[in-house]
């Protein structure tokens, strides 16, 4: 490849479908081709952005007028070292492709997101977490080594012992990319988890019961209704310990093709009709009541397959279309434990006064780490889906900006994989000394400031220090 051409331009957006931007999309034929692409970018005066499955909700995998490397198919290699419980993965491999190979051998990815469609390269770049973050840490905590390529031409093996490890993991594509990932897997004996559901109401009760339930469970998550009197259901799940080879089969893990008798392909259309006509209240009401009914009928715990428990978002293909053609944002503030009750109360009030009550709100418990752009702290996060009612919904924008101001003022953080609105000043305040440390790494790994994304540009993280 000697140059780029108009024919390569594609309009890309994040999974939320808002704020699309156009970039020159290139699918590298292999890692050997990357230095040449970096050369072309330098020659053409373009930056380079990285994109995996495009499952980041905001603009982390788009690059306005940049060369966008589509890495979704470059390397899906997988080697499993059963004796060590380690998988050597190409970064284009998705979590789904990984678990389908590891589960029959008695291993499960140690950290999985709510969808199994993300690539492992994306999981490293965003340092993703799952419903077991408080118990097991984030994705980067389970990476044993990375083969890293940076735009200055370096190929090197990085392990957690290297001081820059915590910067490269979570670097959101700003410092290069992993070309191979050694991941420590979780040994399991059954493909099921035992789930305990607990209804709860009021922030104080919700947070204290989540904290109490985390002790002695492997996963914990809250499905909440962000009303003035918030409530919902907490789910605590633990791996089933008894040997159960049959549950490790792919057949046992397959998701149902119908939910309540309705084909899954039809559900997003039905949801779309309801949400476009009546807004979030009927959905939230139905969710709340059905969860409580289920709990009433079955007050104890129940057994669910790992896939059914882990990948709620994969149940309904194209579920995001239920929010309408203008797209949606997923706002996920991380708030320190001590101020969470007050901040969540205020976030609910902001959403109510903006008349934009979130459709689906997911509560998780987190623990702090040293990964530079990670939002992780000793506290909680709320992931809230908020649809755009117009192509550039200023009400939602204002809501997100107000929430970001509030959260940052209380020492909280926003998640790069979800954010669409944070300004450079807000990002700098939020990241504190991590902002300068990232820029310092940038001057080492990407001295010409080649790596970008719309998110990194917005956050002011594309230039090098000094």
């Amino acid at each position: 490849m000697n140059s780029i051409d108009n024919q390569l331009v594609r309009r890309l957006s994040g999974f939320g479908g808002v704020f699309p931007s156009d970039g020159y999309v290139i699918q590298p034929y292999g890692w050997d081709g990357l230095p040449e692409i970096f050369e072309v970018a330098l020659h053409e005066g373009r930056r380079v952005a990285l994109r995996g499955s495009g499952r980041s909700y905001g603009d982390a995998a788009t690059g306005r007028e940049a060369i966008v490397l589509d890495l979704s198919e470059v390397d899906k290699s997988l080697e499993i070292f059963e004796d060590q419980g380690v998988a050597r993965c190409g970064p284009s491999l998705t979590i789904e492709e990984l678990w389908k190979q590891t589960l029959p051998r008695g291993f499960w990815p140690p950290v999985v997101t709510g969808t199994s469609k993300i690539t492992l390269g994306g999981a490293v770049a965003m340092n993703v977490h799952g419903k077991n973050h408080a118990q097991a840490g984030s994705f980067g905590d389970h990476v044993q080594s990375l083969d890293w390529i940076s735009p200055n031409g370096w190929f090197r093996k990085i392990t957690p012992n290297h001081p820059e490890f915590t910067g490269l993991v979570s670097s959101a594509g700003g410092l290069g990319l992993a070309t191979s990932i050694d991941l420590k897997l979780k040994r399991i004996h059954s493909g099921d988890v035992e789930v305990r559901a607990q209804p709860t109401r009021g922030w104080r009760e919700i947070l204290s019961e989540l904290d109490a339930g985390i002790q002695g469970s492997d996963y914990a998550v809250g499905w909440l209704n962000m009303a003035e009197d918030p409530g919902g259901l907490l789910h605590f799940a633990s791996y089933c310990e008894e040997d159960s080879p049959a549950t490790l089969s792919l057949e046992h893990q397959s998701l149902p093709s119908r939910v309540l008798g309705v084909p899954v392909e039809t559900i997003s259309k039905l949801l779309s009709t309801v949400t476009q006509t009546f807004g979030p209240n009927p959905i939230n009401w139905a969710k709340d009541k059905s969860a409580r009914f289920n709990h009433m009928v079955n007050p104890g715990s129940f057994v669910q397959s790992l896939v059914a428990f882990s990948f709620l978002l994969d149940y309904v293909p194209g579920w995001q279309r239920a929010y309408g053609s203008n797209g949606f944002v997923q706002l996920q503030p991380f708030v320190p434990r001590e101020s969470a009750e007050d901040v969540f109360t205020e976030i609910a009030a902001i959403a109510t006064s903006a008349k934009r009550r979130p459709y689906l709100t997911v509560l998780k418990r987190h623990r702090p780490d040293n990964f530079l752009l990670s939002p992780n702290l000793d506290g909680y996060s709320l992931a809230m889906d908020i649809p755009f009612q117009t192509p550039n919904d200023h009400v939602v924008r204002k809501l997100c900006e107000d929430v970001a101001d509030l959260v940052i003022a209380k020492g909280g953080r926003l998640y790069p994989a979800k954010d669409s609105f944070l300004s450079g000043d807000q990002a700098k305040t939020m990241l504190g000394p991590r902002f300068d440390r990232f820029q310092s790494l940038k001057s080492t790994y990407d001295p010409q400031g080649l790596m970008t994304s719309d998110l990194l540009e917005r956050w002011g993280l594309i230039s090098v220090a000094g």
């Binding site: 108009n6 331009v9 005066g45």
Partner: protein, 242 residues
């Protein structure tokens, strides 16, 4: 609230006449506009007046080999592209002067092809975008007055129709505007009567460019030229239309 849907626009032939008015309207509407023209002083004047929303680029449409790189430079500086409007044009009296006629064809048609081709390549990949070419009612029939001008505008109309037939199903809006006489430098000193002010023409062009198709600027023109297009040639040549 914006009146027009385009936020990032290239206007080729922006230093005077309809092109200049298009620039003014779009900048006033909040768009970022790359204004292209030969006359540096006109571009500088517009830039000084309209501010940073206008990006001036000196360009001679006869240099079609430079369009590809300039197009990519402009889209990078604009940070995207929603619409390209080709408004460059020259018109000479029909004096059977070959150099003038070739200049007419190259300015009115060759430049249009060069810019529309680049935009079409980009918009096809993106699945969105608007292409607008300023044709003329003069392209509807072979008038006796200015053969090369009429032929160049007919060529523009046919070329744009081809683009429309190929690209509109891919989400791209392809528009040919056929103005009648408009008060511009090009028509100054001509015998045209009841000319439309350039500002009015520009406003109408932007309003009509939301929809793919060939558009006249007034319903009367649409009606009159629908009839004229169907008059047999032996009769047409007897009409007092130059």
């Amino acid at each position: 609230m914006s009146k027009f849907p385009w936020r990032k626009v290239i206007i080729v032939g922006a230093t005077s006449g309809i092109g200049e008015q298009l620039v003014r309207l779009l900048v006033a509407d909040g768009a970022q506009v790359a204004a292209l023209g030969r006359r540096k002083e006109c571009l500088e004047r517009l830039h000084a007046e309209l501010g940073p929303s206008l990006l001036p680029f000196e360009h001679d449409v006869l240099e079609s080999d430079k369009v590809k790189s300039l197009f990519m430079r402009i889209t990078q500086e604009l940070g995207g592209l929603d619409c390209v409007i080709y408004s460059s044009g020259v018109m000479f009296d029909g004096r059977f002067d070959t150099s003038e006629d070739i200049l007419t064809l190259r300015t009115n048609f060759e430049g249009c092809i060069a810019w529309m081709n680049e935009a079409a390549l980009r918009f096809r990949g993106v699945g969105n975008g608007t292409l607008v070419a300023i044709g003329s009612v003069a392209g509807d029939r072979g008038r006796s007055g200015r053969p090369a001008y009429g032929a160049s505008k007919a060529a523009v109309a046919t070329y744009m129709e081809s683009l429309r037939n190929g690209l509109s199903k891919q989400g791209i809006t392809v528009v040919t505007i056929k103005p009648g006489p408009v008060e511009t430098e090009m028509t100054r000193g001509s015998k045209f009567k009841n000319m439309m002010p350039a500002r009015t023409a520009a406003e109408l062009i932007l309003r009509k460019s939301r929809k793919s198709g060939e558009h006249y600027l007034s319903p009367i023109h649409a009606l009159v030229f629908a009839v004229l297009r169907h008059i047999p040639s032996p009769i047409f040549r007897r009409l007092p239309i130059e």
